[in-house]
């Protein structure tokens, strides 16, 4: 084993090698360190930002829920307060706190304000801090128009203590008086607190509640009590464990967060691969000097440790830098984007980075280990190589290695294909990602063999320059394969990502077009519980001059499963037939409408999450009673990940008696001016500016802009992958060029023009990168199929149609090939700056 002397020897060798490396190619080492740093930084930043946001999200939800054992939750429109009386009288429960929780529409604002109507006296048992916080205002809050705002709500609405502001109830504005602002620490989210009596009165919810927080008498089994309670609750009202309530908020964004983490992991892998290729090149380039060291008596173990040590130093430096960078990124993201990494569901104000030392250490170790592994493979190969063969040179034994790696590659490809067929694991596309990793590595392992094959079938062109180039590549197949692998890994990932994003965008666009056939769209603020148009309001809107047709819709939330986010119920279309025609149905064809029960159309996520199938009878709790519907079809809904159901307005009215609406589509008369119509519609209401009115084109543009914003970070990661890939290519090229100085010298002696040598190098670069790009395109397309049909479907529970961004890919391919050629030329020039005479004299 390791004697101290042996270790000292390895250390001495390591120092000599590393210093020599650094003297020789400081730029390459720097870039390698940076690449690792980038991977670690991305990983750490995504983790920290998500962690901070989730932490804040979680504790915010926890504060909202307080110390309840069970939460009774009804639909937004609530249940009778008699239920509260029953539960409060029930001795099973030590405390019962009634809540009316509403998303309140604000005039002229797209965002709603969450308002909690509570009975402070009863809430005190479950949320003692709340009463402490309200303090002074507890009794003043009894005034009907009084509200307390959380500090973030005050900030967002630019309100101060003593100000008044308007909310929209129905189509009428009502004024609230800001009694005070809660301290920063109490609620991080934007919300308002009112007395329950005032909330019921202000929001026309007399007699209604939609939430009751319960605490059990000590000693009761919470789960048993919750199940017993559930039996007694009306349809659509659920007894929920608070943990479920907390988890739900977090799980909504889980798929998105996992996807981001995966991307960060890809960046880290790319960094590790760069270490691998850098170290492989360094080993190849120094083959003879390493062999010389072996000949001089350095043991195999010493050499291997010295080489791994080299990689580890790069890893340590890169990881350390990466952790610092990651912290910086995270702080910047939190400040600039309020913790939202793009999908708009995790917006948290006031989240702060807790530089948890353990996760940061984990990222540091990950980066270092990745670099160590990247260095270990070539180090082992170098140490195992008999010195005599190294001194002679040549990659003669490579085909054997290539054959071996090819068989593993084929096996991995097979495994990948199998993995892609597996369903989601706990709602996450774990196997999809495993399939991608498996396919990617499998395909890379096939590269050496394919390179050998491809080069052997390359026809002789009788052009000395090209033929020599091909022959050179064939000879140094290990280097060529490495260089290729760099391109293939990064380019295929980029292609896959580009195809996925493009497919999504195309499908999304088509969906928008299908869903927005009318000229204009109007709606009350999205997700609000208070603003709507009564039947009379609807007639007033319809009477506006210039409108040829107006269709109204009603949306509301339905909580079908307490563990999941509520499902959106959309009532649209006067009749079932009309509804079916308006929806972007899947498997389009004309589906016969069922005659035995009212039809509903479910979004794909309802199939994936709740297991509903075409033709199923489903029972929906509407107005406290269960109604039976038949699933008549499935439609694509990109707007609501947690699922949605559509039924005709008549079916909805039959079930609920509600003929109000909160969204609408407008077709204009020929020649009518959208602006004039919009103004006329707004003029029908006292605070008409609260209605969102957009032309369908503007809405589509806005939606696509939001889409692009959401994918911005994806594009950034793509770019990084490509840059890292190009770095790999450039390292391979410059290292090859340096190794071939003598060869260039000889060729110059026998009369090859400088230009011809450059052409030869460019040719090599083009051949390599063209092959890599072609391979990357095929592999990337395969990966994109997994992304589109497996990862996307399992993450978001909606389907998208595959679409290939041909132009984009072509431009990228050409760019990459040109870049590779330029890199090759540039490194060739650098190598030839030494004169030919000296080069041929160097005994290589």
């Amino acid at each position: 084993m390791n004697t101290p002397r042996d270790a000292r020897g390895a250390f001495a060798i390591w120092r000599v090698l590393l210093l020599a490396q650094f003297r020789e190619s400081p730029a390459r080492l720097t870039v390698t360190v940076l690449a690792i740093a980038l991977g670690v930084a991305l990983g750490a930043a995504v983790y920290l930002v998500n962690g901070a946001a989730l932490n804040e999200f979680g504790s915010a939800t926890k504060r909202l829920v307080g110390e309840a054992d069970v939460i009774v939750r009804g639909p937004r429109e609530g249940f009778s307060e008699r239920l509260f009386t029953q539960l409060a009288e029930d001795t099973t429960f030590g405390a019962a706190s009634p809540v009316l929780e509403l998303e309140v529409a604000l005039p002229g604002q797209r965002d709603t304000l969450k308002v909690l109507g509570v009975d402070m006296f009863r809430a005190a048992a479950l949320q003692p801090a709340l009463v402490g916080e309200i303090g002074e205002g507890l009794y003043a809050l009894f005034q009907p128009d009084s509200i307390y705002l959380s500090s973030s709500a005050a900030r967002e609405l630019k309100l101060r203590r003593g100000d008044t502001f308007a909310v929209i109830v129905g189509s009428t504005p009502k004024t609230l008086h800001v009694l005070g602002i809660l301290s920063e620490g109490s609620y991080s989210q934007a919300l308002g607190l009112m007395d329950i009596a005032s909330a019921q009165w202000t929001f026309n919810q007399i007699g209604r509640l939609n939430r009751i927080d319960l605490r059990l008498q000590p000693g009761r089994d919470i789960d048993v009590a919750r199940r017993d309670l559930q039996q007694r609750l009306p349809a659509g009202v659920l007894a929920v464990a608070p943990q479920v309530e907390r988890d739900r908020a977090v799980s909504v964004t889980r798929a998105y967060r996992i996807n981001l983490n995966m991307l960060a992991l890809v960046a880290l892998l790319a960094g590790a691969f760069l270490v691998f290729s850098t170290q492989s090149l360094a080993v190849l380039r120094r083959r003879r000097s390493l062999a010389l060291l072996r000949a001089l008596g350095v043991t195999r173990g010493q050499l291997q440790r010295a080489l791994v040590g080299e990689g580890a130093v790069l890893g340590v430096l890169g990881s350390f830098l990466g952790v610092l960078l990651g912290l910086g990124f995270a702080v910047a993201v939190l400040q600039l984007l309020t913790g939202d990494l793009g999908n708009g569901q995790l917006r948290v104000v006031g989240a702060s980075i807790r530089a948890a030392p353990l996760p940061l250490l984990a990222f540091f170790v990950m980066g270092t280990v990745a670099a160590g592994v990247g260095a270990w493979l070539p180090a082992r190969a170098a140490a195992r190589r008999p010195p005599a063969r190294s001194l002679k040179g040549g990659d003669g034994d490579y085909t054997a290695v290539a054959r071996y790696s090819a068989s593993i590659g084929v096996a991995l490809l097979g495994l990948g294909a199998l993995l892609s067929q597996l369903p989601a694991l706990r709602g996450l596309p774990v196997f999809g990602y495993a399939a991608i990793a498996s396919l990617l590595f499998g395909a890379v392992l096939l590269v050496p063999t394919l390179t050998v094959k491809a080069l052997s079938v390359a026809p002789r062109t009788r052009r000395i320059v090209l033929d020599t180039a091909v022959a050179q590549l064939r000879e140094n197949v290990a280097l060529s394969a490495l260089s290729l692998a760099s391109i293939i890994v990064s380019f295929s990932l980029m292609v896959a990502m580009a195809i996925m994003v493009y497919s999504f965008r195309v499908s999304f666009d088509q969906w928008l077009v299908k869903l927005l056939p009318a000229d204009m769209q109007l709606r009350e603020p999205l997700g609000n519980d208070t603003a709507y148009w009564s039947a009379a309001d609807q007639s007033r809107l319809a009477a506006v001059k210039g409108i040829s047709r107006i269709d109204f819709r009603r949306t509301r939330q339905l909580l079908l499963d307490p563990a999941r986010a509520p499902v959106t119920l959309i009532a649209r279309g006067a009749t079932a037939t009309q509804t079916a025609n308006e929806l972007p149905l899947i498997g389009a064809g004309t589906q016969l409408l069922p005659t035995n029960a009212e039809p509903v159309w479910i979004s794909e996520s309802l199939q994936d999450l709740y297991g509903y199938k075409l033709g199923d009878k489903i029972r929906l709790p509407l107005d406290g009673r269960l109604h039976t519907y038949t699933v008549a079809g499935m439609w694509r809904d990109y707007a609501r990940t947690s699922g949605s159901l559509v039924m005709s307005r008549s079916a909805y009215r039959d079930a609920t008696g509600d003929d109000s609406a909160n969204e609408g589509s407008i077709w204009l008369n020929v020649g009518a001016d959208a602006g004039v119509v919009e103004a006329a519609m707004r003029a029908r209401f006292p605070r008409g500016d609260s209605i969102e009115i957009l032309t369908s084109t503007a809405l589509r543009d806005r939606s696509l802009r939001i889409f692009d914003h959401a994918f911005a970070i994806t594009y950034a990661l793509e770019a990084i992958a490509v840059i890292i890939g190009l770095m790999g290519v450039s390292f391979a090229a410059s290292s090859t060029a340096l190794a071939r100085r003598a060869e260039f010298g000889m060729l110059r002696h026998i009369g090859m023009l400088r230009r011809q040598i450059i052409e030869m190098l460019a040719g090599e670069g083009i051949i390599t990168s063209a092959f890599g790009v072609a391979y990357g395109l095929i592999l990337g397309t395969a990966l994109s199929l997994v992304l589109v049909y497996v990862v996307n479907r399992q993450s978001f529970n909606w389907s998208i149609d595959l679409a290939v961004p041909a132009w984009q890919l072509m431009v990228l391919s050409v760019t990459l090939i040109v870049a590779a050629a330029v890199t090759a030329i540039w490194s060739g020039r650098a190598a030839m700056s030494q004169d030919a005479v000296r080069a041929v004299r160097e005994d290589c």
Binding site: K392, G393, G394, G396, R462, I464, D467, T468, A471, Q472, R474, E475, N476, A742, E743, G745, M746, L747, R748, H749, I750, G751, M752, L753, R754, R755, Q756, D835, A836, V837, V840, R841, D843, C844
Partner: protein, 245 residues
């Protein structure tokens, strides 16, 4: 770019007359740097068609520098090099390269045979550079490989050959395009005694058969003996040591 070569006049050099003088050095001087003494000063030399000359000298005396000046790979401080009557100093780098491509063949101490090309491909490199087409290319290559005794190994790769065989490949490559001048720089420096003797014999035969003239640079008296005439490069200039074999 390479142009069609008239192989009926294999030894002709574009722009040069059919001068029997293959190489002429006029008052050639070279120093490494201003603060060091000149390697040589005012060298005059004439090499005629069919001559095979050996240049001897101790290490560091400037043998290789002289060779590089002859091939246009280095510029003299003063004096002229005329290759087939063409003044090298009058040509730019591309001009010299094209001239070298046609008129000069090289044999190096370190062989410099491309390991990733087959023997045949290595030998054909100069023809490829000159744009010689099939079947002439194959005919000439085969002829040359036969001449050096490597025809059976034509499709082998250079790395599979022994040192002596590799140097024979180098000799074949140096002469395949029938250059006016062959330059051999310590061609046996990396070979054992037996291979060295064989190589020197082969080199002499082939220079006589396929080149206009040849210069062998060596520090070995035995090697020099294979040439027609031996010169010694000493501090300052060339001294004749009389005829070789």
């Amino acid at each position: 770019m390479p142009r069609e070569v008239d192989w009926t006049q294999p030894l002709s050099v574009e722009g040069a007359s059919a001068d029997p003088v293959v190489l002429r050095l006029e008052r050639l001087s070279k120093r490494y740097s201003a603060d060091r003494p000149a390697l040589f000063e005012g060298i005059d030399l004439e090499l005629r068609q069919g001559e095979y000359l050996a240049v001897m000298g101790e290490s560091g005396v400037g043998k290789s520098t002289l060779l590089n000046l002859l091939a246009g790979l280095d510029q003299p401080d003063s004096g002229r090099v005329l290759l087939g009557g063409v003044d090298l100093s009058a040509l730019d780098d591309d001009g010299v390269t094209l001239l070298r491509r046609r008129a000069v063949g090289f044999v190096f101490q370190a062989f410099h045979v491309l390991p990733y090309l087959s023997v045949e491909q290595n030998v054909a490199l100069p023809l490829d550079l000159l744009g010689v087409r099939e079947p002439e290319r194959s005919r000439r290559t085969t002829e040359m490989l036969t001449a050096v005794g490597l025809a059976p190994l034509a499709l082998r790769y250079a790395r599979e050959l022994s040192g002596g065989e590799v140097q024979r490949v180098a000799i074949a490559r140096a002469l395949v395009h029938r250059p006016r001048l062959l330059l051999a720089d310590e061609p046996t420096g990396n070979l054992d005694a037996r291979s060295a003797a064989q190589t020197l014999t082969l080199l002499r035969e082939q220079v006589k058969a396929n080149a206009g003239a040849g210069i062998l640079i060596t520090h070995s008296r035995t090697a020099a003996e294979t040439a027609d005439r031996i010169l010694v490069l000493e501090a300052g200039g060339l001294r004749s040591l009389g005829p070789g074999r």
